[in-house]
């Protein structure tokens, strides 16, 4: 029922979002130009060649930016779904658990040490390293006792976040002014100026990570039975947990090296789709991947067209769109019994 129509709807929405996003902006590009550019790209010459200007905008400005939004949005949403399933906690996500903060610290170290400018790989490696360290701390905390309460893991995540954010601020105090503005600009999360180079660095990491996470969705389901419940069904709980967590850390670190930390997607997109398609991760994860991508493409588009020629950064848009939804969830859970989200 819902599940059979959800994927056609999502693919259709994705196509629409891409077409809209290519066409709209400070300079309007008609859909015909998109078609012309695409056909030319695959070597078919049925239509006249597109305007040089349009082709450049499509190929070098909008398309890489849209694909970056798709990749980053998918990654953050999938990592959110995985962390929620693994910790049995609807409030978990890379940002709530401090993984994003770890990545940011890595980024600020790379920027202030001056290595970020030297190589295309420096910033991604630094954010991944920061995210992995933060995940290791969360893993250590969650393994202290067998069953960590829902609230405890969120509070631990907040503590880890504050620690890394504090370290970041401390580093920024001793930085030169242009580094500070570079970093602050980066922390707001944005996709402008993303090039094929960014995609070439991140996609070979992100696509396999998402694929492996999706393959483990059956195991992820078992976490709902508690660690002993899952282990009694023949799952190696610790090994699975470590694998999923390291994949999430690498993927989150890579994604935010492209876009900067973008809030709310990891928390809210899986939440929304759990409501629509149910909790089975075999459906929830692909749905979140598509939905997260669509959501970020549309948020980015909104940022570009709301106040041209000014661009509102996408991190600000997701925060403004996400907060009311989060408040709605909290209020609804308070109205129903048990305070469940």
């Amino acid at each position: 029922m819902k599940r059979t129509i959800v994927f056609p709807v999502l693919f259709l929405s994705l196509a629409t979002a891409i077409v809209l996003s290519i066409g709209l902006g400070t300079v309007r590009v008609p859909p015909l130009s998109l078609l012309e550019t695409l056909l030319k790209g695959v070597g078919v010459n049925w239509l006249p060649a597109p305007l040089e200007r349009d082709a450049t905008i499509i190929v070098f400005l909008r398309l890489p930016r849209i694909l970056a939004a798709l990749l980053v949005g998918s990654t953050l949403a999938v990592c959110g779904a995985v962390m929620q399933g693994m910790f049995g906690n609807p409030m978990a996500s890379p940002e709530v658990l401090g993984v994003s903060a770890g990545g940011s610290l890595g980024a600020v170290i790379a920027i202030t040490a001056g290595i970020a400018g030297r190589s295309f790989l420096a910033l991604p490696l630094a954010t991944v390293a920061g995210a992995v360290i933060a995940s290791a701390v969360i893993y250590a905390i969650s393994s202290l006792r067998g069953n960590v309460s829902l609230l405890f893991i969120v509070i631990a995540g907040m503590a880890v976040s504050s620690l890394f954010n504090g370290a970041t601020s401390a580093l920024l105090m001793f930085s030169r002014e242009h580094e500070v503005s570079q970093f602050i600009f980066w922390t707001m999360g944005g996709l402008e100026g993303r090039t094929w180079m960014h995609l070439a660095v991140s996609a070979p990491v992100l696509v396999p990570c998402i694929a492996v996470l999706a393959v483990h969705s059956r195991e992820l389901n078992l976490f709902a039975l508690g660690e002993h419940g899952a282990a009694s069904l023949g799952m190696d709980v610790e090994a699975t947990k470590r694998l999923l967590l390291i994949l999430c850390a690498v993927a989150t670190g890579t994604a935010i090296s492209v876009s900067g930390p973008i809030g709310f997607i990891g928390l809210l997109v899986p939440h929304f789709f759990r409501f629509v398609v149910g909790a089975d991760n075999r459906i929830l994860i692909p749905a979140s991947a598509l939905g997260g991508g669509i959501f970020l493409i549309l948020c980015d588009l909104l940022g570009r067209i709301l106040a041209p020629p000014l661009e509102i950064r996408v991190g600000i848009i997701t925060a403004i769109m996400g907060s009311p939804y989060l408040i709605f969830l909290v209020v609804r859970s308070q109205m129903r019994r048990g305070g469940r989200l």
Binding site: N221, F223, G226, G234, R274, G278
Partner: protein, 416 residues
């Protein structure tokens, strides 16, 4: 399964947390066809033992063999096809529906990258009907009652289809109808040739359904064997730290364990009760509760009075059922009567077999003869000499009601 049907053979299990032993030297076996109940007070190590034998936690010492193979050497998924576990852990409510939860039990049977087949779904549906939740497939698990959740998790365990089934307090949230049904299903599993191990708090349930029991006390085995051998008032008092009495249910014939109400401690006054045909039951209970030192007799074996005195640990004299009280018996019981400050003669029919009790009563220092009241057995006489003896007895005694007797002795009782 090996020939003896020994599915689980655990020896010398020790489990230590922070230097404190949770299990020390526990031996535990389960055979095909058995339903083994693990009982013991809170914190005795029941859950720890169950988790250990499922391989969920690793003991510090000890060997665990599953169907003759060392537990640690069996790969995870294969182990999950051999032993299933229903835990007490709460399922996190992320929005899974009932069918999805039950189907998780098929996980160890599925190959990599394989989803559940149509047969798996049908099996899950059948098991849901079997546990009494037909049509619950699409209900949200988190919105079920605690009892319904337990039944769903039991269905998940059934779907797992393992030879050894381990249930950690499977009925803790169930009403008596569903408790009966879940343990009947557990018995069914045992009849199918599986071995079922269940930790149980309710000793009456343990006695009724389990083929054998393991009594744990602070991590050690305090008793094992058939329910009748394990559920013994003395052992239970040592382990649970409360006085119990063990009787038999009239309805099912199975053992019943109850807690003896706390006694007011009252020093001194000894009361001897002469009863029969159940006439002393109410008075005994009342005086016992008030804390008097009681003795009883002479009773016939299997009389309700005798059964009660026995289960409360009251010193008494008894003779074989339907046999006649002889002079010798009277002499024998006289010590109890003579050392009592008050001797109470209850209202019961008197015939040749128990006329000796009147002779016994005549030896009392202070005799109280109870008047028959509503609901009591009538004091009829089946022998002329019995009536004579009774009338003679009454002349030197106080005749009163049970109520009056109780108020008299409880007001005048605190004599040092």
């Amino acid at each position: 399964m090996n020939e003896s049907g020994l599915l689980l053979d655990a020896r010398g299990i020790e489990y230590i947390v922070d230097g404190k032993p949770i299990l020390s030297g526990v031996d535990f076996t389960a055979r095909s066809g058995e339903l083994v109940g693990v009982i013991g007070p809170n914190g005795a190590g029941k859950t720890t033992l169950l988790r250990t034998i499922c391989g969920l936690i690793r003991p510090a010492r000890g060997d665990i063999l599953l169907s003759g193979r060392p537990l640690q050497s069996i790969p995870h998924k294969e182990k999950a096809r051999m032993v299933s576990y229903m835990s007490q852990e709460d399922v996190v409510d992320l929005g899974f529906n009932v069918l999805e939860i039950v189907l998780m039990g098929r996980y160890p049977h599925l190959g990599a990258f394989r989803g559940e087949s149509m047969e798996d779904r049908e099996l899950a549906g059948r098991m849901l009907s079997y546990v009494g939740l037909p049509g619950f497939e699409n209900r949200r698990f988190g919105e079920l009652s605690g009892g319904e959740r337990q039944l769903v998790l039991f269905a998940k365990t059934l779907v797992q289809d393992a030879g050894l089934v381990v249930l950690d307090e499977p009925s803790s949230h169930l009403d008596m109808r569903h408790e009966d049904s879940i343990f009947s299903m557990a018995q069914e599993l045992a009849r199918e040739g599986r071995a079922v191990i269940a930790s149980v708090h309710n000793l009456n349930v343990a006695a009724r359904y389990c083929s054998s029991l393991l009594l744990l006390d602070k991590g050690s085995v305090a008793g094992r064997g058939e329910p009748g051998a394990v559920l013994e008032a003395g052992a239970l008092e040592r382990v649970y730290g409360v006085k119990t009495f063990v009787s038999r249910s009239i309805g099912t014939g199975s053992l019943m364990v109850g807690v003896v109400p706390p006694r007011a401690s009252r020093k001194g006054m000894r009361i001897h009760i002469i009863g029969g045909a159940g006439s002393a039951v109410n008075l005994t209970r009342e005086l016992h509760r008030l804390g008097f030192v009681l003795t009883g007799g002479i009773a016939h074996a299997f009389d309700s009075d005798e059964i009660l005195w026995k289960s409360l640990g009251i010193e008494h004299r008894s003779i074989g059922a339907f046999s006649r009280i002889t002079d010798r018996d009277v002499v024998d019981a006289a010590r109890l009567v003579e050392s009592a400050e008050i001797v109470v003669l209850c209202s019961f029919p008197i015939g040749m077999a128990n006329v000796g009790n009147l002779e016994l009563a005549s030896r009392a220092g202070r005799l109280v003869v109870l008047k028959p009241e509503k609901g009591d057995v009538e004091r009829s006489f089946f022998a002329a000499e019995a009536r004579e003896a009774f009338e003679k007895l009454c002349r030197g005694a106080e005749c009163t009601t049970r109520e009056a007797l109780l108020s008299m002795i409880s007001s005048g009782a605190p004599q040092e």
